[in-house]
Symmetry: C3
Subunit: 272 residues, 3 copies
């Protein structure tokens, strides 16, 4: 077993040991799955998006996850307030730029968030992350467009990480993560994950749980992304033949059963 | 196999082949199921309800689905903007008038939407559709009231279709669809579908996917309504005895496994 | 079988017989589960949170459930309007003070709701209910903090009930309910319920269904709390080993299969 796998396994164990409170300002499509995924790995989710409490809740949390899936003016203000407070308090922040590239509102919002809040981890698909890295691409809705495959995930991850001084996670068939220096590739995962809404959002939420228990943001992101990939594989084995509804549930099941031994057996991570 | 069944099967296959982007401005109760139902049949969902992006997203989508389940002033404005833009761009629009008849707000909203946006398909239960057709009825919450059975679904569907120049789908134990000229009845379905929230909303979302790939709105609506009916039957066979939670998941499973052969074997459609 | 068990079983049967309309102004995290839990026990859910219809919907409903899980200024106004209307019309009101103690906004909101609306039942965990009873405690997010175990659930339930002239349900490993006079303890339940988000919210929603069919609020709350506890046990037996995703679904399954015989066999209620 290589070093990054071992580190990621330890991060996940630490989540179970410490049960960090993870504050999510997220979309109403996949919010239930995000909360249940966090509970499944042992973290404690709180969803709170009103401006009058966003900063208060961020300040008592161990991580903040911002997800613009169904952004609106009200919640964007809350994201900014919570993000700034988190920065002040040293609470790590994860940004999931859902659909960046798909509308002016999303583009402007992502830019505003990145200008006003220092993000610890950015997690998105290749379209979204290419947009953030300034390597413009056409986004088809909230899912990755095939045309974006022209961008090399490694260069997108490294560029985004350097540009924003953070860890960037570009998830896809092979996930590529970078902190601008190190590069980690993750080969765990299953194509059926893209047949269920929210697997990306859940990965971002899990990244919040992991970054809450370690200062090494690349290890945290690797742990979260690999955990979701492994859950996707286990779910396929147990429920893939039944259909996407059962598969969805089996992903949560697998997250809840994940432990260091299973993680180390299954994880296909390598650091370049 | 009759002609309407064959046409409906082809529509569903086209959804899988083209994976149309379907924009939903919908309620927060069943939105996750709507997204997963769309993914299950091969479509690509996007949920976006802010006024600042609603028209932009509608204009890049292949269909727009408006659902007033948890309407509020903010999202009604977005529905109007997205609907008008869709009309301008030739993007078909589906309206699900959830709970029409249950409150003044719902009644006024539905009327405003129908005045300002041309709908391609209206889909609701007998109470809701009777209200739209001007054949007033008492709605008990968001579910069909028994008292409404006095209205004949055929006359409601035909009246609503003629009144609004669209296809009207009145779903119930027997589903009745009309474009004002043709009438299609669908006998597929299972009573257990009414024990899960969102099966109506999902049917409307699926109608969006189907209308995205054909110009014949009656065929599209028939494909979507029959798909949900068949999924309801298959789910009952595989999971009905376990309870309504498993049944809910099995409905999504069945949608994801649906293919033309299974559809044609199971579909009970006929055109009068 | 003791008297309280018999009464609770009858309340649940009455819910199936009368299918009361239950109006929920609730959070977007667990709203789908609340609707499906209500359908599972035979009630008819309606979720409506806009100020322009909240009072109208409350006035046609048989119970109103207010849940501040993801409160915001807009929906708090709707809760106040619906609550006042419900009081006027004699419609019973349930309050779930999610995360009371966790932020100033939640504390102020709960106090405002309690000042302006007479609640029939309050249901929360020990942290939340201690806050309401004026026996201040530190809340860790939306889940019960261990430190709160210093407060005795019986004294919290009795104090809250007396202070607000209502039934207070303090749910936890052992649930304690009081109307200020009688005290009921419920030993049904399973620790795995805390690994799924929304089991508390669902219990509050079910309390709405039960209070809709009886004037004895303590019996209603006991029926709802015991139903969830039994469902938690049955779900563990059927799906606990699979993981928290399957367990979640199995809870809904169990609610949908619950009947008086099963309830009376399983229920562990006693009245002091």
């Amino acid at each position: 077993m290589n070093q990054i796998t071992e580190k990621a396994a330890k991060v996940l164990q630490k989540v179970r040991d410490h049960s960090p409170l993870v504050h999510n300002i997220t979309n109403y499509v996949t919010v239930n799955d995000c909360a249940n995924a966090l509970l499944a790995v042992g973290a404690s989710p709180i969803m709170a998006d009103d401006l009058e409490e966003a900063a208060d809740i961020a300040s008592i949390s161990s991580a903040l996850v911002l997800n613009i899936g169904t952004l609106n003016r009200r919640t964007v203000e809350s994201m900014l307030a919570a993000g700034k407070k988190a920065n002040e308090m040293g609470v790590p922040v994860v940004l999931d730029p859902v659909g960046a590239g798909a509308s002016d509102l999303r583009n402007r919002t992502v830019m505003k968030l990145l200008e006003q809040v220092h993000m610890t981890v950015l997690r998105g698909n290749l379209s979204e992350m290419s947009f953030l890295a300034g390597m413009q691409s056409a986004t088809k809705g909230v899912d990755a467009a095939d045309s974006d495959k022209r961008n090399d995930a490694v260069s997108v991850a490294v560029s985004a990480a350097k540009k924003y001084g953070c860890t960037a996670a570009v998830t896809g068939a092979v996930d590529v993560l970078s902190d601008g220096d190190r590069v980690v590739k993750i080969h765990s995962g299953h194509p059926m994950l893209s047949c269920v809404t929210g697997t990306g959002c859940m990965t971002s939420a899990l990244t919040g749980a992991c970054i809450a228990v370690t200062n090494v943001s690349l290890d945290a992101a690797a742990a979260a992304v690999a955990a979701m990939g492994i859950a996707g594989e286990l779910a396929y084995e147990s429920a893939g033949a039944k259909g996407t509804g059962s598969y969805h549930i089996a992903v949560i099941d697998a997250l809840s059963r994940l432990n260091p031994i299973l993680f180390e057996e299954r994880a296909k991570l390598d650091e370049a």
